[in-house]
């Protein structure tokens, strides 16, 4: 298991927070901003869509620009293939000025599972073009290694389906990815509870990306803070070194010399 300490390193950038926030599904912009601030995150995802003259308030550029120490990571959601994802990434970089891109290609709206082949093609092209590429992927150790080989800055395997709250259903496969990876492994999608984020970090993940669990909480800002604590706790526990498991009981108190 890797024992990374300190900042999260993505490409040439470093982040003090290991929690990445998505900005979708919030009831309004003010709630989203409060959640971002409460989380302490330094990296948030955004999506690119047609400007809607009927809903100019949907534009997040202005409110996000007011946040200090927060970097934008445009995603390529809506792209059905690698070609569309590359174009979305270029538009996102033009608009944000950020080199980060979350490559996200999921053509089936029913399960939103990432298309591994198109994701690989897009990630390879974007990494060669100088992007800091973080692909959202199925929890597949072979694919993860290939994405590392083509220059991705991290891999982001899903814990469960997007927005499902299914938790870390792919934990065993994520463990295999962590074992072989030389780049950060970030759980993206599926987390519902901060305890799951803590478990992911204890397993050896380098960060967690959370959106729905925070946006859909009764109190999003409070849940954002709770996830930040979960990530921090899991990371601290991992670096402290978890005790080995035993199949039998191991007494904590002496079993001999009791009252003479």
């Amino acid at each position: 298991m890797k024992l990374e300490t300190g900042n999260l390193k993505l490409g040439s950038h470093e982040f003090g927070s290991r929690l990445i926030l998505g900005t979708g599904k919030f009831s309004n912009t003010e709630t989203m901003i409060r959640a971002i601030e409460a989380s302490g995150t330094e990296l948030v995802t955004v999506a690119l869509r047609r400007f809607n003259r009927e809903k100019p308030d949907d534009d997040l550029c202005a409110p996000l620009a007011k946040l200090k120490n927060v970097t934008l990571m445009p995603n390529t959601s809506g792209a059905m293939n690698a070609k569309e994802a590359v174009r979305a990434a270029q538009l996102g970089r033009e608009l944000s000025g950020s080199p980060f891109v979350k490559v996200e290609i999921h053509p089936n709206p029913h399960h939103l599972m990432p298309d591994a082949i198109e994701t690989y093609i897009a990630a390879k092209e974007l990494a060669a073009d100088g992007f800091i590429v973080l692909p959202y992927i199925p929890a597949d150790p072979v694919l993860a290694k290939k994405l590392e080989d083509v220059g991705c800055a991290a891999v982001m395997p899903l814990g469960a389906a997007i927005g499902s709250g299914g938790g870390l259903s792919t934990a065993d496969m994520i463990q295999l990815i962590i074992r072989d990876s030389n780049i950060p492994v970030i759980v993206d999608a599926g987390l519902r509870a901060p305890s799951e984020a803590a478990r992911a970090m204890e397993m050896g993940c380098d960060a967690c990306l959370v959106n729905s669990a925070i946006a859909a909480a009764t109190d999003p800002a409070a849940m954002a803070k709770a996830f930040a604590l979960g990530v921090e706790t899991g990371f601290a526990a991992r670096n402290a070194g978890l005790m080995p498991k035993s199949e039998v009981a191991v007494a904590s108190s002496p079993l001999t010399s009791f009252l003479g």
Binding site: G24, A47, D59, Q90, L95
Partner: protein, 66 residues
Amino acid sequence: MNLMVNGESLEHNGDGSVGVLLAELGAAPDHSALTVNGDLVFSKNWKTHTLNDGDTVEVLTFVGGG
């Protein structure tokens, strides 16, 4: 000239400049990215880029996303 903007037909009354089109739409220039006929037009080139009758234009901005 007639333009197809974000999937809708639009009678553009300006001189074909990107800035006038964005003003017509109410879109903030520094919050917008643009494609014309599928090609990305960088903001640094907006002043010199001229839209033509029949062009298909996409004006994009950031919204919430995970």
